[in-house]
């Protein structure tokens, strides 16, 4: 059945309220089962041996001693994961990242793995594996890696997007260019031109739950995987390809997920666990240590970005150019391209150009991190806009409003925007009491904007009505932050029943059609759309059953507030039939009542946010403390406001951590110096103030409820907002994030010296 995805304004009964989440009790009592909380009969413990070198040839791996150790049931190397990728480069890189093939490309790269009867035996076995390395020169810095004399990681990598195509291999995987207009003419028009170079360090999603899975592969090719993931269907497809399994025979169940933020969209050790299980013919549980998570999962890019911006005295930005260098770790990515797409997306700049360089270095393969690539570009752009505002003597907010993107503005990546909310967020910021609050000594206030896409994609939902009229809703997008509530609310809203009568569960890959991964702020948008459509299908069935019960034509039945109502003069003696009454008779009117929907959820909206940050800087130590913070973001429609606020607050906190202290620190030896929460400093409770939020609702025209994704956008503004606040507190412009105490103090000294 074709469904209409267009937005229709309506009054909601359930949507927009603050109900209790269905998984709450399990999660406050310790009953909820996460990746590491499952066990299986005869289960083994899997452990991975990792390269201590950032770049090395693997000359030989001798596993004989480990194999002989009592209690060891399988030892594997890349030989046990033959290349079945059939020319698919992306898949081949995933395979090589899971297990090194003849060369180690970063500190922490997996080189072998064992499965043993217990933790102690597995640890002992790892020590018995003898790996002979030949060390190779390494490079971990993005700018260094681009130099002509840098050690080259991939001998056959020639930069794409360059004409003529290079004949010499380099670490630059691709060049991207975007934008429109004539930037030279734009700069010629400008009264002021500001140019700056920025650097951002590599950060990690920092989810508290390490990667964990329980894999079981049988000799007949059937297999099961219990795993903490953002996308169990994607994991199934990738693992099936890498292991040579049939998709239908690998059942993947997503456990409760203890945070992902993009980091659990990709497979890391799961194919290794499957390969161990296949070899041992026993279930294998593989849980990464925190150190392994930092060294060998997928952090974000470190970057180096040049921005040039020209403006007229009236505040009009006449031209803007950004050249951005993003490292993707040891394998090529498209991270700089995403930087290009997002850098100027909040603004209507007639002449804009972005150039992106995607670069490989000897660091772990970069993965998505909440609005991937956008925060770094926004740090550079939002800082530069404040500099422009200062030069022309206008307020930062007015310069932003003067150039703000609106419906009809052409996005830097091509298309023309439909209705978008960036102007609304800026107006809300301007009117917010926070903007008028008095600042104390050493304090400063900064604002910044941010943009991130929403994506839609393949979605499949099942809605089944029980004999008592309660509803099971099976969705295939993993619930990363309360989505089961939102889906139940949407189903209840459509069916006209109470929230408590709907139970949402996350279906495994064997019981539901394919669903794309929960990424790109798509969960509520996509599964919300499919839930609406599935509920509408179920309503059709309910109407048919009511018609049968009454013995009237289905055309004479309408669905109103959870009831079938017979319409027309001929039937006005018929009392309405509730969903419960119809459900009770389902067995005698044609069997189970259900609604299904399979859809490519298209028309995802755009996410925009503006933030206000107050910071206090200790001039003697360079330490910055966030004293007040406000997030304004367009949600399209907030289904469950608590969890929308929670996304805003969580994203802002991650951005603040990035802005202030979080960074990967590599030594000259190319090894990660701080693979733990002690020295990879994510914000703790006492670092943070309460985070004020304001939800705006500019409906997405391409969703029945107007939903936009809300998960990612608010990690984009904090770096710029904090940098601008520090600049206003101290007079010093920070161009290197994180803006840690030593960097701020050095900048203060340089200011004093200058």
């Amino acid at each position: 059945m074709a469904h209409d995805n267009r937005y229709v304004e309506k009054d909601y009964k359930v949507v927009g309220s603050r109900v209790k989440r269905p998984d709450g009790v399990d999660k406050v009592t310790g009953k909820a089962r996460y990746g590491a909380d499952a066990s299986a009969p005869g289960g083994l413990v899997g452990r991975v041996l990792r390269s201590p070198h950032p770049h090395a040839q693997i000359v030989k791996i001798n596993t004989a001693k480990a194999e002989k150790l009592k209690g060891v049931k399988a030892v594997i190397t890349s030989a046990d994961l033959p290349d079945l990728t059939n020319g698919d480069q992306g898949m081949a890189h995933i395979l090589e990242n899971c297990m090194a093939r003849g060369r180690a490309l970063y500190d922490g790269h997996a080189v072998a793995a064992v499965a043993a009867i217990d933790e102690q035996t597995a640890a002992k076995a790892l020590k018995l594996i003898d790996v002979k390395y030949k060390k190779l020169p390494h490079v971990t810095d993005v700018d260094e890696a681009m130099k002509p004399d840098a050690p080259v990681l991939h001998a056959k990598m020639f930069t794409r997007g360059v004409d003529p195509a290079p004949t010499k291999a380099s670490n630059i995987s691709a060049r991207t260019q975007m934008g429109y207009g004539d930037v030279d003419a734009g700069f010629a028009e400008a009264d002021v031109i500001v140019e700056r170079t920025y650097k951002t360090e590599q950060t990690h999603q920092g989810y508290i739950e390490p990667h964990a899975c329980l894999a079981s592969v049988n000799p007949d090719g059937t297999a099961e995987l219990w795993v903490t993931t953002q996308g169990h269907f994607t994991f199934r497809n990738v693992c099936s390809t890498l292991l040579g399994l049939d998709i239908a025979k690998l059942k993947v169940t997503s456990s409760e997920i203890g945070g992902g933020f993009g980091g659990k969209t990709h497979v890391w050790a799961e194919p290794v666990a499957l390969a161990l299980s296949r070899k041992a013919n026993r279930p294998v549980k593989l849980v990464m240590s925190r150190e392994e998570v930092f060294r060998a999962s997928g952090p974000t890019s470190s970057t180096s970005i040049d921005v040039k911006m020209g403006a007229k005295k009236d505040g009009t930005i006449t031209a803007a150019v950004a050249e951005m260098r993003y490292q993707g770790g040891a394998f090529p990515g498209t991270w700089a391209m995403l930087g290009c797409m997002t850098a100027f997306a909040c603004y209507d700049i007639k002449n804009n150009k972005t150039i992106g360089w995607d670069v490989v270095v000897n660091r772990p393969k970069v993965a998505a991190y909440r609005a991937p690539s956008a925060p770094m570009a926004a740090f550079a752009v939002e800082s530069t806009i404040d500099l422009v505002a200062k030069e022309i003597g206008k307020s930062p907010i007015d310069v932003r409003l003067k150039n703000v993107a609106r419906e009809g503005t052409q996005a830097p990546y091509g298309p023309t925007y439909g209705p978008i909310g960036i102007e609304n967020t800026l107006e809300a910021v301007k009117a917010h009491p926070h903007m008028r609050a008095k600042l104390k000594k050493n304090q400063g206030r900064g604002i910044a904007c941010g943009f991130w896409f929403n994506i839609g994609g393949q979605t499949c939902v099942d809605l089944n009505i029980g004999a008592d009229g309660t509803v099971n809703l099976s969705v295939g997008t993993v619930d990363v932050g309360g989505a089961r509530s939102s889906m139940a609310m949407i189903a209840a809203e459509e069916l006209g029943i109470s929230y408590e009568d709907v139970k949402t569960n996350i279906g495994d890959t064997a019981s539901l059609g394919h669903n794309d991964t929960t990424e790109g702020s798509r969960g509520t948008f996509s599964s919300g759309m499919a839930t609406i459509f599935a509920a509408r299908d179920a309503i059709q069935v309910l109407k048919q059953r009511a018609a049968k019960m009454w013995g009237i034509p289905v055309e004479d039945v309408e669905w109103q507030d959870g009831e079938a109502v017979a319409i027309g003069k001929m039937h006005d003696n018929l009392p309405a039939l509730s969903l419960k009454e119809i459900a009770a008779k389902a067995g005698r009117t044609g069997g189970p009542i259900a609604g299904h929907n399979e859809v490519v959820a298209d028309g995802a909206g755009m996410g925009f946010a503006s933030h206000i940050c107050d910071v206090e800087v200790d001039p003697e130590t360079g330490r910055s403390q966030i004293v007040r913070y406000t997030v304004v973001q367009d949600a399209g429609k907030a289904i469950h406001p608590d969890y929308v606020e929670g996304q805003f607050q969580g994203a802002a906190a991650q951005g603040i951590g990035w802005a202030l202290n979080e960074e990967y620190i590599y030594g000259d030896d190319g090894r990660l110096q701080n693979p733990g929460f002690l020295d990879y400093r994510i914000p703790v409770c006492s670092d943070m103030p309460f985070i004020d939020t304001k939800i705006l609702e500019v409906p997405n025209p391409n969703h029945p409820y107007g939903i936009r994704g809300v998960g990612e956008t608010s990690i984009v503004p904090p770096l710029g907002a904090v940098g601008n606040a520090i600049a206003n507190a101290t007079g010093v412009r920070m161009t290197h994030a994180p803006m840690s105490p030593p960097r701020v103090l050095a900048a203060l000294d340089a200011q004093d010296a200058g």
Binding site: A123, S289, E291, E620, T621, R623, Q625, L660, N661, I665, Q673, N674, F677, L678, D679, R681, P683, V684, S686, D687, S740, P741, P742, L745
Partner: protein
């Protein structure tokens, strides 16, 4: 790994002395278990000292305080007399890690782990604390500043362990303070730590002890910094001299937690701030 829980210090010393393999003491375990987890140590013997007599006691005597080697940080904070006498020492101990860590970590453990950045060690040094060591040859008492000899190394010989830490009874009009710098508000290892204790006579500093952490291979006592204070009412000139002396005493390394330059600079900044707190606690008015 053999796990033993002796009932006396002497018994513990005997176990350590007899062990041919790698032996470790377990007090709060907040360092040892991390090393176990990371595979940095593979003990043959672990001696849990929390079951030794008096290991969990804080004793108040006429001479001062004796703090058993198993007393966790949280207990120090709850001890009113100790907190009144040596607020700087208690604050320093209470800065180690989270409330969870406070439930376990001990002064003796913090000292014997011999990290240059240990928070409680500079504070103990400034307060003139001593460690009571028991070993195969009996009991000896050593000033805290003499215990660590380098990162992860102490002057304790095979079979020796710290039974308790003793703090003197503070002289009248004595105040102490400890400040450390960390990038966050909690949960970090000190980038720089400064402990100062001063004793006043008629409003003038008569005696002072200044100790620094995280700026040298061990926590260090800085007599030159103390001299900068003695005879002053903590005027700006004295504070500047103090800051200079502290910075001059630094011999730090560049690492993930801070640069040499930053540590040297911060030592001076924190010394001034700590001195003011200690001075006020001693009843001084600057």
């Amino acid at each position: 790994m053999r796990y033993e829980r002796p009932g006396t210090a002497k018994e513990a010393a005997g176990l350590l002395a007899e062990e041919k393999g790698q032996a470790f003491l377990l007090a709060g375990g907040t360092d040892l278990l991390v090393k176990l987890k990371m595979g940095m140590v593979e003990p043959d013997l672990v001696v849990d000292i929390k079951h030794m007599a008096k290991a969990n006691e804080i004793q108040s005597t006429a001479k001062g305080f004796s703090i058993g080697a198993g007393v966790p940080g949280a207990r120090l904070g709850e001890h009113k007399a100790l907190s009144k006498a040596w607020p700087g020492v208690v604050e320093a101990a209470n800065l180690i890690g989270s409330d969870q860590i406070q439930g376990r970590c001990t002064l003796a453990g913090n000292l014997c782990n011999a990290s240059p950045a240990a928070d409680s060690v500079p504070a103990m040094i400034a307060a003139g604390a001593k460690a009571v060591i028991v070993g195969p040859k009996g009991r000896r008492t050593v000033a805290v500043e003499k215990i660590p000899t380098g990162p992860g190394q102490t002057c304790l010989t095979k079979g020796e362990l710290i039974e308790s830490i003793s703090l003197p009874k503070p002289a009248p009009r004595t105040g102490d303070a400890y400040l450390r710098f960390i990038p966050r508000t909690e949960m970090d290892i000190a980038v720089v730590g400064v402990a100062i204790s001063v004793t006043l006579e008629r409003g003038v500093i008569k005696k002072a002890r200044v100790a620094l952490g995280a700026v040298a291979p061990t926590a260090v006592l800085v007599p030159a910094a103390a001299r900068a204070l003695v005879g002053s009412k903590l005027d700006d000139a004295a504070l500047d001299k103090l800051a200079k002396a502290c910075s001059a005493a630094c011999n730090p390394i560049d690492d993930k937690r801070g640069t040499i330059e930053y540590r040297v600079r911060l030592a001076g900044v924190l010394a001034k701030r700590a001195a003011k707190i200690a001075f006020n606690r001693a009843g001084g008015q600057s």
